[in-house]
């Protein structure tokens, strides 16, 4: 009897973990972008939106995420994540704190052509190369419809 309670409690807590609003890794080559339906292939530009309830929406670039947010009712408390362009493993970072560069040479899947960087330091070498301005998340939301 005691064991039964223990199993129940364990199961309950494990389910709790399963439901916490957590990052869901992108399965490149299989997951589709929630906005444009294209298969997400490019690790350098992928983005993810996690609602407070924990549902994850995956995108192939920042513009797709922005367009999805303007077309759908998205809670402002959602977590926004974006791939770090400068790091070779392209880990996901907070999209609202990231630094952005905009240039056609990025050739992102949907022609958004925004690349995200974890810090200004990481973005500066490319910025000078492309003669671009550093942008912040607010700039992106302003540019985009």
């Amino acid at each position: 009897m005691k064991h039964n309670t223990l199993i129940f409690l364990l199961g309950f807590f494990m389910l709790q973990f399963a439901c916490s609003p957590d990052f869901e890794p992108v399965d490149y080559g299989h997951d589709a972008c929630a906005h444009c339906r294209m298969t997400i292939m490019d690790k350098r530009y992928a983005a993810e939106l996690i609602t407070p309830k924990g549902k994850a929406y995956k995108f192939d670039d920042a513009i797709c995420m922005l367009q999805y947010m303007s077309a759908n009712q998205v809670s402002p408390d959602s977590r926004l994540l974006i791939a770090d362009h400068s790091d070779a493993t392209h880990p996901f970072i907070d999209a609202r704190k990231a630094i952005y560069l905009h240039n056609p040479s990025f050739k992102t899947p949907m022609n958004g052509n925004y690349a995200a960087f974890a810090s200004e330091k990481a973005a500066v070498p490319l910025k000078d190369n492309l003669e671009q301005k550093l942008l912040h998340w607010e700039d992106l939301t302003r540019i985009n419809p």
Binding site: H30, C36, D42
Partner: protein
């Protein structure tokens, strides 16, 4: 008289200098580069069999390169292969292999840049990041080439035949496999893609982005992540293609997103997860197609309107039509549905009662994907029958008023 003699001399002289010569090239250090550097416009290079360890070969004059016995240009997995920047260049019968890969620039086996009337014929392009890359190219012909890579790397993987800002291209008879997209069109207009085979590509067999007034006919798209994706495009004609075995989570035979005024005729969709997925499409005619053994034959999102589905055959698909709303602004006429169980008392080969192609279970699984577990259970059978008697969930505008009793000859 003297004056005329001068003219004659000058004419013969200019004829001699302009006379196209044929130069034989044999393997050696920088043999190809030197030969191309020396060649005059109009010359033909006859490249002999062998391996040429060369790369970054720029072709800046109108010349013809003909390979004899499939000579190999090997870029040592580090560099780009050929770059063509002159008009009317012809390259045939050579093999370009092993270009480098980079995350900054797109490295290609053969790149055509700012040129027109270029012809690439009977070449083999193997294990290159991008196979054939056309930028600002006009009126070029890509004929009977084999473009294949065995390297699986989705970050740096490129497309087989990649066209960007081009017009009037002809892409025929190519065999493309193993790339990210088999054939990729971005800002390309008035082009024709026919008789190609595109298979086992990681993303799409053929992909259109912002490319208007193109047509693709008689192609085969097999075992790709998805067969063809047409996005943000107007005026695409799709005739006589075969879409087979495009299986997977986000897999489609044909994915249509934001497209208008297009035609889908005489195609065969066999064994795809979703044969056609339509989202935000306007005025698309779907005529005389075969949908067989697919998971979902048609997935028409409520954002689509003004499309007509006429005289198609729907045979042994798990679900024929599914939609995500109750409003349906598309028309279905005279299709053959193997699930139709109506009757034909007046013997005009058209069923007397309308057919509702959306099954109630398709609607449920669209809302709750996990409900698929109960597909083909006893409970679903009952639901299906009840829904037939008293429709409540399926969109009632979505019906075929004149379903065919017999398979349509396509």
């Amino acid at each position: 008289m003297m004056k005329h003699l001068w003219l004659l001399l000058w004419l013969t002289g200019s004829c001699l200098t302009n006379y196209a010569t044929t130069i034989r090239v044999s393997p050696g250090k920088d043999a190809l580069r030197t030969a191309i550097g020396k060649a005059l416009p109009g010359d033909t290079l006859l490249v002999q069999k062998g391996i040429y360890q060369e790369h970054d070969i720029n072709i800046t004059r109108t010349i013809t390169i003909v390979g004899s016995g499939m000579p190999v240009i090997d870029a040592s997995s580090k560099y780009p292969g050929l770059l063509i920047t002159a008009d009317s260049v012809v390259i045939q019968g050579i093999q370009v292999q092993r270009t480098g890969r980079s995350s900054i620039s797109d490295i290609a086996g053969i790149r055509i840049s700012n040129a027109k009337n270029v012809v690439l014929r009977n070449n083999r392009i193997l294990d290159c990041t991008y196979g054939i890359y056309l930028q600002n190219a006009h009126n070029c012909t890509i004929l009977n080439n084999i473009v294949h890579t065995g390297i699986k790397n989705e970050i740096n993987g490129g497309n087989g035949i990649h066209a960007w800002k081009c017009d009037r291209l002809q892409i025929s008879g190519n065999n493309v496999s193993g790339h990210r997209d088999g054939i990729y069109f971005e800002f390309v207009t008035d082009s024709k893609i026919d008789n190609n085979i595109s298979y086992t590509n990681q993303r799409y067999g053929l992909h259109f982005m912002f490319s208007h007034q193109n047509s693709y006919t008689k192609n085969t798209f097999r075992e790709n992540g998805a067969g063809v994706a047409v996005m943000y495009t107007r005026g695409v004609t799709m005739y006589d293609n075969t879409f087979v075995q495009n299986w997977g989570d986000a897999s489609y035979g044909l994915l249509l997103k934001e497209i208008t005024d297009s035609k889908i005729e005489h195609n065969r969709f066999i064994k795809n997860t979703i044969a056609i997925h339509m989202e935000g499409t306007t005025r698309v005619d779907v005529l005389h197609n075969l949908f067989q053994d697919n998971g979902w034959a048609l997935r028409v999102m409520a954002s689509s309107s003004g499309s007509r589905f006429t005289e198609n055959n729907f045979i042994s698909n798990s679900f024929d039509v599914v939609t995500n709303g109750t409003l349906m602004l598309n028309e279905f006429h005279r299709n053959y549905w193997d699930k139709y169980d109506g009757y034909d008392l007046d013997r005009d080969h058209i069923g007397d009662v309308p057919h509702y192609p959306v099954s109630v279970y398709a609607v449920i699984s669209e809302k709750i994907p996990a409900a698929m577990i109960l597909y083909r259970s006893f409970l679903t059978g009952i639901m299906e029958q009840v829904e037939k008697v008293m429709p409540s969930m399926i969109p009632d505008q979505l019906k075929d008023d004149s379903p065919m009793m017999k398979k349509i000859e396509l």
